[in-house]
């Protein structure tokens, strides 16, 4: 093992994106349960999400259950067809490809599921499960499948001789390794890991995280890492997006997001994580209490979707939806009053961009002056201290 083994892939700002998602939207129809199945509303599971995953790098996606992070993962693997928006994978928009056109792409984008007990077929041997992609895509001749399967089992730290065992003969951590081996079979360029460790015991979680970091480094795989555990995401991803009710509310590099969060939701989320070391040395972080539950995505609040639970919400928040505004070299936040805890600005910073006054009423003649909701980052941003545009 090299010196760098078991370490997170560092942020490479020059890496070209393997995946660029723009304005991705997924509305699930809610049907009236009658004869005519009239559509009476939509669950706005994902509503205008844009981000990039760098080649060989990783982006973390965090949020509470129901915020749309898993749906985003499933859209990217095209298990769903998006309502609107673009998914550019390796320079090609795959958002509306047909099943036939998707087949070659399935090799490139693979998925690791949360629950290894239900994502492996109990009646197939491990060899059949891991080898199936090879046969389907006819990558290797049939007599070469077994050696390749054994090679993969070895990569993920399982005994290669166990290829003819069934999933139930393995423990939870080992089953997750089988799932990882299956996803590596076709040497994908992008892996969508949907809560890959949350079903595992703590001592096993670390094993699987280390394994994922090793395979990422060895094969140069881009990761979209979806999880609700903020500490695990921080450990794995140099860049993280926080989702709330179908939208990205803050996206930044790790250092900025965890040490200088600017969105009140990110601040609340971070303050809610119980911390062993803090408690061990006697301290306890001040917790920001979030009251109530996440509102229904069928009928989300107007304006800012977080305003119903936000302690800073003002008139403008209910009228105007805050744009995802770039406030640092690699930091975007969707809030009218972005700032570190206790240092939020008195006046909304977004008025000029949205073309409204401080109370959210439209100002005639004013228009939005920059392109918003684009994936990736600009070379200039709004400096919150000076209120001017700054750049590198």
């Amino acid at each position: 093992m090299s010196e760098l083994a078991h370490a997170a892939t560092p942020l490479d700002v020059t890496a070209p994106p393997i995946l660029t998602v723009q304005d991705l939207q997924m509305y699930f129809p809610v049907k009236y349960r009658g004869i005519f199945q009239r559509t009476i509303g939509h669950v706005q599971a994902v509503d205008g999400v844009s981000f990039q995953v760098p080649k060989g790098g990783s982006l973390g996606l965090v949020g509470e259950s129901g915020c749309g992070k898993s749906t985003t993962g499933r859209l990217i693997t095209r298990l769903y067809e998006p309502t609107d928006g673009e998914i550019n994978f390796d320079g090609r928009n795959i958002a509306h490809l047909s099943q036939r056109e998707l087949l070659p792409l399935r090799r490139e984008i693979q998925m690791i599921f949360q629950d290894p007990a239900t994502s492996l077929n109990p009646r197939h041997t491990v060899g059949a499960i891991v080898g199936a992609p090879l046969l389907i895509h006819k990558v290797v001749p049939k007599n070469k499948v077994l050696p390749r399967v054994q090679e993969l089992l070895e990569v993920v730290g399982l005994n290669p001789e166990h290829y003819n065992r069934y999933p139930h003969e393995f423990s939870g951590g080992q089953r997750q390794r089988i799932g990882i081996a299956r996803s590596l079979t076709l040497q994908p360029k992008l892996l969508v890991a949907d809560e890959p460790v949350s079903a595992l015991d703590v001592s096993i979680q670390a094993q699987v995280i280390n394994l994922l970091q090793d395979v990422q480094r060895e094969f140069g795989i881009g990761f979209l890492f979806i999880a609700h555990d903020l500490a695990i995401v921080r450990h794995f991803c140099p860049e993280i997006a926080v989702m709330y009710l179908g939208k990205i509310v803050e996206i930044a590099d790790r250092e900025t997001l965890y040490n200088h969060p600017h969105h009140p939701y990110t601040q609340a989320l971070l303050s809610a994580v119980p911390d062993v070391k803090q408690a061990a040395i006697g301290g306890r972080r001040e917790r920001i209490r979030l009251e109530g539950d996440v509102p229904s995505p069928i009928n989300p609040p107007s304006g800012c979707r977080f305003r119903t639970r936000c302690s800073m919400a003002q008139e403008i928040c209910s009228k105007v939806e805050p744009p995802l505004l770039q406030v640092g070299p690699r930091h975007k936040v969707a809030c009218h009053f972005p700032g570190e805890l206790g240092h939020a600005p008195q006046r909304p910073v977004t008025t000029a961009i949205c073309g409204v006054d401080d109370h959210g009423n439209a100002v005639s003649g004013a228009t939005a002056d920059i392109q918003l909701n684009a994936p990736g980052y600009d070379t200039t941003w709004l400096d919150l201290k000076t209120g001017q545009r700054a750049g590198t």
Binding site: E64, S65, S203, A206, L230, A268, A272, V273, D275, A279
Partner: protein, 349 residues
Amino acid sequence: MTSYLSVRDLVVHFPTVDGVVKATDGLSYEVERGKTLGIVGESGSGKSVSSSAILGLHRGTNAKVSGEILLDGDDLLQLNDEQMRRHRGRDVAMIFQDPLSAMHPYYTVGNQIAEAYLVHNKVSKKAAKARAIEMLDRVGIPQPDRRVDDYPHQFSGGMRQRAMIAMGLINNPGLLIADEPTTALDVTVQAQILDLLQDLQREFNSAIIIITHDLGVVAEMADDVLVMYAGRAVEYGPCKEILTHPEMPYTWGLLSSVPDLTADTNAKLIPIRGNPPSLLSPPPGCAFNPRCDHRDKVPGDLCTTQVPDLTPARSGGNHVKRCHLANPDEVYVAEVLPEIAPDLVKETP
């Protein structure tokens, strides 16, 4: 002062066709009123099994339970089923990990909460329902008089867990056992529920046993911590003591394998290698020895032949540990701490 609950040498064995599963093997601990005990361990370490024994939930199964469970002086294991039933729900209550499967889907939430009250109190159904509404209000359910007639599926996950807590506390029990109460919940909701439990504990002066695998939850909630491994206590003592001066390699492993929000991001996660042992045939000697990185520091083959006793930790106090290492505190400071918290080591030279 005697403890409200005192468990002594509790043994729960399940005979199976393959042999005896020693789910809990000689477990002792105490909890006082108003205090919280955190029980930590992996799945299959016996933490849930030992706690359901307190409620007598192994009665009517083929489990062999022995030892003593003294609740306010009464040995619960000596009681007959009828006497046990009088305690269950009144003096000891339990809340479960998954409130959706712990509640009956065909009955309204109010009905299920009121039932717990009706069983132990001679009151009218109307009074019981009023009490259920009062409890729902107490645990922070909005519009309790309306929500009391809802079915469990109409509640969100956090609200269901609140309703479970209301059900558990309706008779003001002296002991509340919370089995992974927040594992199925989001962090923000988890924080709400933990706050609620602490508020209610102050109000009712109950003893709480919180079973979890999340050391963070333990650190926030517990006064004492019991670390379990393969059916036995491997470390037991005051929470702060265990988190700052752990003396058992398994506890070190637990601490080093979870990332936290302040750690150096280049720090490695050090997993505990291997898998939890089978309770059918646990390894001879110390059950943790096949996964232990510090076995070679113990002379001879003590680790693989002899089960270590629970001995007082070197740091003193009420802290006990089950390990053959002669100087675990020194090993921890010299070898483990620099790996898991390089920043802490620098701060305290």
